[in-house]
């Protein structure tokens, strides 16, 4: 490990330790008080959605999109679908996402139909999850959005390689942030599944971001996400080991300070009326064996999280 790398990795932690809002007396103080989980009105400083020349130069004071993230994923775009490329871990994780969703849906004693489901995939990237969701037998349509224009071009080009996906209305990509996506006119026009995979750790203000997403979930539908807990273990695994030592994740993919803990999500959603059925699943990547379920690991590593909107 080079010294420069460890310095870079340690920076986010120092930032946290010196943050004025940090109160060591509280049990879980960091995100409660920090702007990360502040409400939409007290959101972080305005962000210009102007990362690349090809994107529309528009002012969006409420966007939770981080422009440095957009440029990072622009650079990764060309290798998105390379099975042995930088996105290999995401590809390998994808089947588990469907397993988790099936499990959540099976557990809910709901009258909601099991066919013609409508998906909204937020932060779809090159379309790994969006494509797979569109191929499922029970899927009516998938709408997939991402603020990074270059990865969406890759997604569109890759979609043309599969006649199943090219069917009209099956899979629609929109270059948009969630804030710019028109909200449903009535709750019933929402989506059965709203997915947010490996996105939360890349946004500036998770609270306001989630507030924007929630109206898109149909009553009885699910918001499903995956992210990484902000712990010493996850810092060591995702920032130091995966990016710096093993190099299996592109450098600069993760900013540890943005990670959100499962308990924080849990507490946050428990304070939202009309949302319940919280489900989590801790997963771990074991080199040579792939992604494995590890009970309890949601407390310190990668995890899936799902919450259901009441019918």
């Amino acid at each position: 490990m080079k010294p420069s790398n460890s310095l870079r990795a340690i920076r986010p932690i120092q930032r946290h330790l010196t943050a004025p809002s940090y109160r060591p007396t509280s049990a879980r103080p960091v995100l409660r008080q920090a702007p990360l989980f502040a409400s939409a009105t007290t959101s972080a400083s305005p962000i210009r959605f102007s990362s690349t020349a090809s994107s529309p130069q528009k002012e969006h004071p409420k966007s939770t999109v981080d422009p440095t993230e957009v440029s990072h994923f622009n650079a990764l775009a060309s290798s998105w679908w390379d099975p042995v490329g930088p996105s290999r871990l995401l590809h390998l994780m994808n089947p588990l996402r469907h397993t988790f969703i099936s499990r959540c849906r099976a557990a809910s004693s709901s009258a909601s139909p099991n066919t013609n489901l409508r998906y909204l995939d937020i932060g779809c990237g090159g379309g790994i999850f969006a494509e797979s969701a569109a191929r499922l037998a029970h899927t009516a349509s998938v709408t997939a959005i991402d603020p990074t224009p270059e990865v969406l071009k890759i997604a569109e080009a890759h979609k043309r390689r599969d006649p199943t996906l090219a069917a009209p209305g099956k899979l629609t990509y929109i270059n948009s942030s969630i804030e710019d996506l028109p909200q449903p006119q009535t709750p019933q026009e929402g989506y059965d599944i709203v997915s947010l995979f490996e996105v939360l750790e890349h946004v500036n203000a998770p609270g306001p971001f989630l507030e924007h997403i929630m109206p898109h979930v149909k009553p009885g539908g699910w918001l499903v996400l995956s992210t990484i807990s902000r712990t010493w273990t996850s810092w060591l695994v995702t920032n130091v080991m995966a990016e710096d030592v093993l190099g299996i994740v592109p450098k600069g993919t993760h900013d540890w300070a943005k990670y959100v803990n499962e308990t924080e999500l849990r507490d946050w959603f428990q304070g939202k009326p009309g949302w319940g059925d919280l489900k989590t699943l801790g997963v771990m990547y074991v080199p040579g064996f792939g992604w494995k379920e590890v009970t309890g690991s949601e407390g310190w590593g990668n995890y899936f999280f799902a919450v259901r909107r009441a019918e």
């Binding site: 397993t99 797979s132 037998a137 043309r160 390689r161 599969d162 199943t164 090219a166």
Partner: protein, 496 residues
């Protein structure tokens, strides 16, 4: 540049495919109205080769509720219907192409619903196996009574080691099951003229899809192209996957034999015999009634001699193969004819324990003597972008353990599982990522079996010296140890 494989442009006499009932599905909702006649028809799985492995794969896909919606096609150069076993086939003559199906293979055929379509009267389960060294006479016998497990034997445990079945019976059973299931577009008596990558048109980018041009003028695009097309697989060539190995400079001589009786154990306890000779193993495997099938691996010269013999001389040579010394056999192969008398005379001077030998061969079925060169081949990988290989297209094995067809059945079952998981999780079933688990599941296992059979062949090719003593010691030691024998038998049965 897309690789293009020119296949033999043999026009079939009847180019009309036997159109099967198509099962309308969710995965074929996409239909692209195209004015161009050359636009390929899009399939989820196109299987080239209608042998036991390819048919087992298709039956497995169609029998599973997860994968039955896939749009699948089979392309076979032969006339499938003509080569089928008649349902009322009498139990007098048997094909010389038989296989020993392991209980694991049979279980898979039962699960996909094909086993009940087999002609049961032409299948012979066997309960015992006698294997011995032709040089030292060290012997091992396999049966579930002496192969004790560590605990007490459960009454539910099987007594059958394996099932002898004609390949044509296996194929007919699978075809019967496919007919029952429906939903496979069968292109029989149809050749593949060329395989090339598709094109990037305005609506669709098929540049990663194999497109097959058939001798009937049709063109099919395959999401997943399965090569079940034998050792010289054109699909494997298209995928640019190398297959490495060597020729054993041995031929396998096969024949259907008439025996004097049903065998020492009668019709309910059949025994398979294998004797390792320096030139290669000679095996006699029981068929129903007083019949057996022969697989004699030997040098090409001796194979040619055997094939040229009159039926009574051939029968005498098979009896000699299990009884006389390697030196006697060497001499007998130099005679152009008259083996019957020569063997009769020499047997008088060779003490044998007849109870440990197969009952005498009285005749050989007319036209059943044939031979084929023995090879060992293993493809570098079983999968590529939108390509998977099964059966002999992936591996060719020495027949001494009778594992060739079983490996193909194992491949087919594993590929069905891989495709099923991919469908359930929305993966593109032709993507290399989705296919990875198939390669992982089968490659190491097949490689180990190829290695073991190869080593056995080499071990028993040695005629003298310390190796003969060591191998005999090893064989006797295994024979004396029930649990170890049980372990080997479980492995041979396909793992339990």
């Amino acid at each position: 540049m897309p690789p293009r494989i020119p296949c033999r442009a043999h026009r079939a006499a009847c180019p009309t495919p036997t159109a099967a009932v198509r099962c309308r599905t969710r995965l074929q909702q996409t239909r692209f109205a195209s004015t161009s006649a050359s636009a390929p028809e899009i399939y989820d799985v196109v299987c080239v080769g209608g042998g036991p492995a390819g048919l087992s794969l298709l039956a497995g896909l169609k029998a599973s509720p997860t994968t039955c919606g896939l749009k699948v096609a089979l392309i076979e150069g032969q006339d499938i219907q003509k080569n089928r076993l008649p349902k009322d086939a009498s139990v007098v003559g048997f094909s010389n192409r038989c296989s020993s199906l392991t209980p694991a293979s049979v279980r898979n055929l039962q699960e996909i619903g094909a086993w009940r379509h087999a002609n049961a009267s032409r299948i012979q389960p066997y309960q015992e196996m006698q294997v011995w060294d032709g040089v030292s006479d060290a012997r091992i016998s396999f049966d579930w009574d002496t192969a004790r497990s560590l605990g007490p034997r459960k009454p539910t445990q099987p007594t059958t080691i394996a099932y002898m079945i004609e390949n044509v019976n296996t194929v007919s059973a699978l075809l019967g099951r496919l007919e029952e299931l429906g939903g496979v577009d069968m292109f029989a008596s149809t050749k593949v003229d060329a395989i090339e990558l598709g094109t990037d048109t305005e609506q669709l980018d098929l540049s990663s899809w194999p497109v097959l041009s058939l001798s009937n003028g049709k063109s099919l695009a395959a999401r997943l192209l399965v090569g079940a097309d034998g050792a010289n697989s054109p699909v494997r060539t298209f995928a640019g996957i190398a297959s490495r190995g060597f020729d054993y400079s041995r031929h396998g001589v096969v024949a259907t034999l008439d025996l004097s009786t049903a065998g020492w154990g009668g019709p309910d306890h059949k025994i398979a015999y294998q004797r390792f000779l320096p030139s290669g193993p000679i095996a006699m495997l029981p068929m129903p009634g007083n019949f057996a099938t022969l697989v004699w691996s030997t040098t090409p010269e001796r194979a040619a001699t055997l094939k040229s013999l009159a039926p009574n001389d051939f029968a005498a040579m098979v009896n000699a193969g299990f009884r006389l010394s390697p030196a006697d056999l060497e001499y007998l192969h130099t005679l152009p004819s008259g083996q019957a008398e020569e063997v009769a005379w020499r047997e008088k001077h060779t003490p044998t324990n007849e109870r440990g030998l197969p009952v005498r061969v009285t005749d050989v079925q007319a036209g059943s003597v044939a031979s084929f060169p023995l090879r060992m081949r293993h493809a570098d990988t079983y999968t590529g972008e939108r390509v998977a290989l099964v059966g002999d297209a992936a591996h060719t094995i020495h027949p001494l353990a009778g594992q060739g067809l079983n490996q193909g059945q194992g491949d087919a079952a594993a590929l069905v599982r891989t495709i099923s998981h991919a469908v359930q999780t929305g993966q593109d079933i032709g993507s290399t990522l989705a296919l990875e688990s198939y390669n992982e599941a089968r490659y190491a296992e097949n490689n180990a079996m190829l290695g073991v059979c190869d080593k056995l062949h080499r071990l028993y090719s040695v005629e003298s010296g310390p190796i003969v003593g060591l191998r005999s010691l090893g064989l006797r030691a295994v024979d004396a140890m029930g649990p170890l024998k049980g372990f080997f038998m479980n492995r041979a049965a396909g793992g339990v």
